[in-house]
Amino acid sequence: MNGIKYILRFIGIMLMVEGGVMLTCLIPAFHFHDGTWSQITVSGLFTFCLGMLLEVSFHRAPRFADKRMAYLLVGLMWCVLSLFGTLPYLTTGVVHSFADALFESTSGISSTGASIFSAVEWIPSSVLLWRSMTQWFGGFGIVLLVLALVPSLGINKYTLYTAEASGADNTSKQTTSMATTVGHTLGIYVLLTLLFIYLLWKNGMHVWDAVNITFTAISSGGFSIYNNSIEGLTLVQQYILAGAMLLSGVNFALMYNFVTFRWDRLRNKFDQLLCYLCIYLVAAIFVVLALRFEMDYSWRESLRCGIVQTISVQTTTGLLAADTSQWWVPITFLFVALSLCGGMAGSTTGGLKAMRVLILSRNVRKILRDRLHPRSVSPVRLNGHPVSDNIITNVMVIFLIFVAVIFVGIMLLMLCGINATESIGAAIACVSGYGPGLGISGGFGCYAGFTIMAKIICTFLMLMGRLECLTLLLLFMPSFWRKG
């Protein structure tokens, strides 16, 4: 019971942060006079006060030292965040049904980028900023941020870290405390954001647009403030955004080491980086060639679309350089596979992550070698260091669960009466965090056509994907709820 109180207290802190963020949306509300300031204030204050109430009433809740509570805490926090994130949509009347609002909010918080809006330019600017901001915070992992920076948590923060990103990259922890690691990462994140806002502004974009687009690009989210995503931007702006997306798929620790001139440490992640870039390169070349020769785009267009769209897919961002739903089927299929693959571990991207793909394939090689030399001792290596069996099995389990979750998702969506292509597209897009699916939900399309049930399933899949499945699944295990 104490555990529950303690959890409520943290949810309170979380809500206070979320309310605060909501209130910042007042700036565009006043600046652009879009007439939403009262609604935004109400939602922001409500969230903030509720959080404050929880915090104050459970301030003295005793600490707990239970692993299960840590998982519960992380799982609940994400759910609550998405739940309260619906307020700006609902109060301003941009969205009428709760399911839609929840879908949009979760898609933001989990930095997926699947949207129920087919056109967005009519939406008040404050709500647009809220949309982008949820992605920026969610992409970084706001839960982790709050947990890491609150002192005296009473539980091992590393546990929470694994609960949020299930053992994604065990080498990420390079400092003595979680808080410092998170601090470094946050520093890089903010820096990158500012840099790209500046670059976009310098290249002729309005600050307001630059802020919004950078927020969603750097967090690998993918909400846009234009009806046709980023297709209408100038060539330079698009390439800058491609750069932003490319960096969003790189491990933050790697970037930190790079920026602080600790280049000797770069070697630790070199394999993953190479894998990430190689996959990107091969895919991009294929897409460019396919666009040029199969779809008769001009070289200029195919280069633009190929380079920008491929990185957007691989980092599971979901910004669109063109209406991909009309593209040649093999390209869309490649995109589906690519979004499953994802960027580097320890970045904002979703999907399986390059490191896992690397370990999975190297493990196959190891098994072949073992067959030939049954007595040989030849571990799977990453950056020259042997990978422990634990990590390998962890990767395998996550891979399988990923596949299973996607499969169940497809099955459920099909039960809701959505056809096979669209189910496959939507399930994979939601779990991997890419956003646009196939068919009506793909390209410049949206998820508005889905039934309510299907939207709820997608919402759930997005959360699943963001938490890498394990944590949420654990909450559904009967053994989790058994005493002792």
């Binding site: 099995t393 389990v397 039960l415």
Partner: protein, 506 residues
């Protein structure tokens, strides 16, 4: 010194290329012997041809001669002065080469009779046969000579029990132990052999396999009232979980009784041969505690139940739904690939279940394909343990099936297998999309062929066609590779493409 040089001259010039030294002569000799046996087996379609007077007898004589000559060439000329020692690495190569050469030679009768026009098509059909897949480019099989249909099903029957078991028998004559080959063929699970002597257990398996087939022929002929030739075709294709049907009319020649017979035999062939042997020799204590068998039956019947519910809920009659679901689930799970006329209304839910069943496949050690139930049990148990370990980081767990511990190394292999399986499906599906198939359709087609299922109504329902003849050549070759990969349980196929298997260690 001189002797040493002489020895070198006899070797394949592998060293200069930095390749491993192989005992190619032995491989050639074994392959040749196998081909000769295969040529002799042409007698069966020949007899059918003579009995039914379908006019294909000369084609079979010619094909038989061609294959025989080829076999003799390999056996007696290439494989002269052979050294009888088989290193482990060569046993992997034998697996691959035999699975390549024999189905290739299997194309001869198709080409000679002229039933299939192009080489690509013939190769596709032949591989589809030997790998017990059952995908066919023949749109109207009933227009082919009956003997050719028997031949087609016969390739499945041979492929079902595994060409390598032949090899094991041959090797016994040569006095070479062939434990690795046995493993290569039955790598799904570590089974206890039926007999301490490998060749004896192989013989027992053959006997059992033949007896089941004969029983089915008899039942179909007398109880099911099927034409004798058709009964042979059906039996050969069912027991091997192949799926070449002698007609394209959805089993139209079968009475209700016949359908039941085929259904039951499909279910049986999804069970491990070892377990079947125990079943028929009344050693039931093993069966009673076999988790894999329990699981197989549980999945089978719960899938049937779900399908029936799904069909009834969209407005089909109960009897019709039940009959179809039983047949469909048995066919899919055992990876046979027969299909009958569908109920009037299809349900998406059945499609989803079907896809799941395609992936799961049959029991390890059976002739069926797929990931295999045994592996699935191991993986699921391991996942359970993984969740336990998340909550209790110090917990020590291990996976046990039938009270036998499955080592972590082996689990890792299973995981890798599943990963490869998915990779093959995705890769195959990608190539199929290049050939103009829709995404769901290519995924299903790739999955059905890797699992050696072949035609599945699922593909039809996703807007595709079961007529593989319409596909471009690229797709046919891709599917051929997928079928072979599935039959060789992936590793054996990709092994020969990994450098370690042909490069000499320095």
């Amino acid at each position: 010194m001189f002797k040493n040089n002489l020895h070198r001259i006899n070797e394949w010039p592998a060293e200069r290329l930095g390749l491993r030294k192989f005992n190619f002569k032995l491989i050639a000799r074994i392959t040749g012997t196998l081909l000769m046996y295969f040529a002799c087996s042409m007698v069966i379609p020949l007899l059918v041809s003579l009995y039914y007077k379908d006019g294909a007898q000369f084609s079979f004589i010619v094909s038989g001669m061609v294959i025989l000559l080829l076999g003799m060439l390999l056996r007696n000329i290439v494989g002269r002065n052979v050294r009888y020692d088989l290193k482990e690495i060569e046993s992997y190569w034998i697996t691959f080469i035999i699975w390549l050469v024999v189905p290739m030679c299997g194309t001869v009768p198709y080409l000679v009779t002229g039933a299939i026009g192009t080489v690509t098509d013939a190769v596709f059909e032949s591989f589809s046969g030997f790998t017990t897949t059952g995908s066919s480019i023949v749109a109207l099989p009933e227009e082919l000579p009956l003997s050719l249909l028997v031949y087609r099903s016969f390739t499945q029957w041979v492929g079902g029990i595994g060409l390598l078991l032949f090899v094991v028998a041959i090797l016994r004559k040569l006095g070479i132990g062939a434990g690795q080959l046995y493993e290569a063929e039955f790598s799904g699970a570590r089974h206890r052999k039926l007999h301490p002597h490998l060749s004896k257990s192989v013989t027992r398996m053959w006997t059992l396999y033949t007896l089941i087939t004969l029983a089915m022929v008899g039942l179909l002929y007398w109880v099911g009232e099927v034409r004798f030739g058709d009964a042979i075709c059906l039996a050969l294709s069912t027991v091997s979980t192949g799926g070449f049907a002698p007609d394209n009319g959805g089993m139209a020649m079968l009475t209700d009784g016949g359908l039941v017979i085929v259904t039951v035999f499909m279910m049986l062939s999804g069970i491990s041969l070892v377990r079947l042997y125990q079943l028929f020799t009344f050693r039931w204590t093993h069966l009673r505690h076999d988790q894999e068998l329990h699981c197989y039956l549980a999945i089978l019947f719960s899938a049937v139940a779900l399908c029936v519910v799904a069909f009834c809920s969209v407005g089909n009659g109960f009897k019709e739904s039940l009959q179809y679901s039983l047949f469909h689930v048995a066919s899919t799970m055992s990876s046979t690939g027969f299909y009958v006329a569908k109920p009037a209304h299809w349900s998406f839910f059945v499609s989803a279940i079907t896809f799941l069943l395609i992936l799961l496949g049959a029991s390890a050690g059976s002739t069926g394909g797929g990931i295999k139930i045994w592996r699935v049990i191991a993986v699921v148990k391991y996942m359970g343990n993984y969740f336990t370990n998340m909550l209790h980081p110090n917990a020590v767990t291990c996976v046990k099936i039938n009270g036998q511990v499955v080592e972590t190394d082996y689990i890792n292999k299973i995981f890798a297998f599943v990963f490869l399986y998915m990779a093959f499906i995705v890769g195959g599906a990608f190539v199929l999309t290049l050939c103009g198939c829709t995404i769901p359709n290519s995924i299903c087609m790739a999955a059905a062929n890797v699992s050696n299922l072949g035609p599945s109504p699922l593909i039809n329902n996703l807007g595709g066609s079961l007529d593989y003849a319409m596909l471009p050549n690229l797709a046919k070759w891709t599917l051929t590779v997928l079928m072979l990969a599935g039959r060789l349980e992936l590793f054996a196929l990709i092994a020969v493409f990994s450098p370690a298997y042909w490069k000499r260690r320095i």
